[in-house]
Symmetry: C2
Subunit: 400 residues, 2 copies
């Protein structure tokens, strides 16, 4: 017998049929002798519908009232899911974020969990009840409702698993696990049995939309074992944990991100502080930058290129033109690029991983723009039109 | 400056336009220098939609989870209304039932308010904020959400007015006040300036659908002054209070109820206990009876007739046939009847009120079946087809 936290997203409970299906998954786990705590999001489009209602009335409503509004969404889904479990005939109780003991700071719309006081929840478990908890929400010191912001329900589930010392935190998604590449694009993509937190973080950052980063960071911090699995297909998923089983794999996955732009500033004065001026001004506007390349230009100048989200490209270009055009620098942006990355803790102890990747791209006839490496990743910038071909070529080189 | 509690029903906040209109009414009251507490119901069909969602999954879900589900409806409306008031630029905060201090018993679906602890609410008022409170809901000793049952938001408003010692509790409805007869049916119906609690209770019981009886009873108990007024038409409504202004009016209104049936048991044995047996068996099935007439029949028998809601007629007839047909009694039911009543505390000190009513009906050629009187009402049973004509005739006799 184990204590298992299960998390289901909004699409998993979008209608009555899906709610009943999820209830079946939960009660199967319960009937196998486990204690089960379930974290659930708002149904399907509920959150978007509520935001639209608010915008019709006041697009600039306070975040406090927005949180009051949005937390109603999970309240509806926990009650419906509890009723579905009652129908199957298992003992169940639904709890709102505050009833489950989620105490947060005061940052409405993006609150951080400060503590979880699970006494009530534990007492329900002690009665052998299935406990359904509203994800994404908590309560602050003023006794007001707060939401945890994007990906909040994943974070709720992992935090709860940590607080309850759960044996496993199952995150049910629309994919059957974490793959070596996007299985819709790469036909022989392989599902990973397990993966480390750091690898998962890199994969998420580099474009794999499986788990929210904040929840993986929290899982790493509290050593919560996560299983990523499908809410529709009944098969084992991918386990995320600190010490992954040795699989003799150099890398764990190949990902792409096509939603980026390359910004280049050519001909800046090569004086101290210019790079700082550039990146601090971007940071002040909350523009996150990724791959950076600096090279010496002609006649005592230097060139800096970097990538950022495509949505920020125009703003970044204007900002840098204001800063550097006086000294003769030319700023350009290019949104026809993509980033392809390999991720894997295995490459730390192996040389030649990067060159194997570059060789695969060369053989596929793909030109590499910029290169960036970390301990467990290698990323290259290539033409966007070649992205799928590049992922396939690199995947073939490593996974055959 | 006064402290005013305002209550708006679901249709008053059914869409963005109406929410903005209600926000304007509230802020006008606030800007006139008053402290304002607002109780609001769930938007339009929200509650019915949520019930339908639940029925799709489990028509026999527990009441505890049903209350968890339904209380989300008011949570949505308080947040939206608060945002509308923010748009107008007045300070505002929305509070759920439990945040406003509504403590109830454990009867999910039909909870009774045990106490109101308005410290949080009072502290928001002290900051000169408009406070929007979710009607219909509270919290029980287990820290679980409860609903107050039908008419709950009216009750929330009156209870809050009592707890805060408010100067006035305004109940906004789709009518402009309490009339001497239904203004859609009787062209010269007059709006009452004021009315006593007892008169209001009788009017409500006798078919006028303006105020929920439970809230009037509570208002009477705690001496809360209520104003019934329109959420759409800006004009003074009708004040409900203990000592009504002397208006030299014998009666306050004429009402009809066409949703009734007359049940007759003819030829019961005239032995002690038969009447008790009859009415206790109806009470055991939760069939409320109204006008009762008992007369001596032939040969040591007696006849009992009474009225009940039309929906209960069939069940009542079957029940009584089982009980009394053995002793030769005949049970019949008649659903072609209507009850017309006059209500007014003034008639206590005037003789001739009943005969004036009977005279008006006689002149209109309407036959009276049964008669029932209380201190402040006279009711007659007449053919249903004559109901509107009867109301008009009686109204003319008393109001010209």
């Amino acid at each position: 017998m184990a204590l298992i936290v299960q998390k289901f997203g909004g699409s998993s409970v979008a209608n009555a049929t899906r709610v009943m299906h999820v209830a079946q998954t939960i009660t199967d786990t319960y009937k196998a002798g486990n204690d089960v705590v379930v974290v659930v999001s708002a149904q399907g489009d509920t959150t978007d519908d509520l935001i639209e209602k608010a915008n019709e009335i006041n697009p600039k409503g306070s975040k406090r009232e927005m949180d009051m509004l949005l937390t109603a969404g999970e309240q509806i889904s926990i009650a419906l899911l509890a009723m579905a479990i009652e129908k199957i005939g298992c003992p169940v109780v639904s709890l709102l974020g505050w009833q489950a003991g989620f105490h947060t700071d005061r940052a409405y719309g993006a609150a951080r969990i400060e503590s979880i006081k699970p006494e009530r929840l534990q007492s329900e478990l002690d009665k052998r009840k299935i406990v359904i908890v509203a994800g994404f929400q908590g309560i602050n010191k003023a006794d007001d409702l707060t939401t945890l912001g994007r990906g909040g329900s994943d974070t709720s589930a992992v935090a709860l698993a940590a607080a309850l010392h759960a044996d496993l935190c199952q995150i049910y998604t629309d994919v059957t696990g974490v793959y070596t590449a996007d299985p819709r694009k790469v036909s022989n993509a392989k599902k990973l049995t397990d993966i480390t937190y750091d690898e998962m973080l890199e994969l998420a950052t580099l474009g794999a939309q499986v788990l929210n980063n904040r929840s993986v960071e929290m899982a790493k911090k509290y050593n919560v074992e996560i299983e990523v699995l499908s809410s529709m297909v009944k098969e084992p998923g991918t386990i995320v944990r600190e010490v992954a089983k040795m699989e003799k794999m150099l890398i764990r996955g190949v990902t792409k991100d096509t939603d980026i732009a390359r910004i280049s500033v050519v001909g800046m004065k090569d004086v101290p502080g210019n790079a700082f001026k550039l990146f601090s001004s971007l940071a002040a506007k909350n523009i996150n930058i990724d791959v950076i390349l600096q090279s010496v230009g002609r006649d005592g100048t230097k060139d800096i290129s970097f990538t950022c989200a495509r949505a920020n490209a125009e703003q970044a270009q204007e900002l840098l033109e204001d800063l550097f055009s006086d000294e003769g620098a030319v700023v350009s942006s290019d949104t026809t690029v993509a980033k392809v990355s390999i991720v894997g803790a295995g490459m730390q102890s192996h040389s030649g991983t990067a060159s194997k990747m570059f060789g695969a791209l060369y053989e596929a006839g793909i030109n590499i723009g910029m290169i960036s490496t970390s301990e467990i990743t290698v990323s290259v910038l290539i033409p966007k039109e070649d992205a799928d071909k590049a992922v396939a070529a690199v995947h073939r080189a490593f996974f055959g």
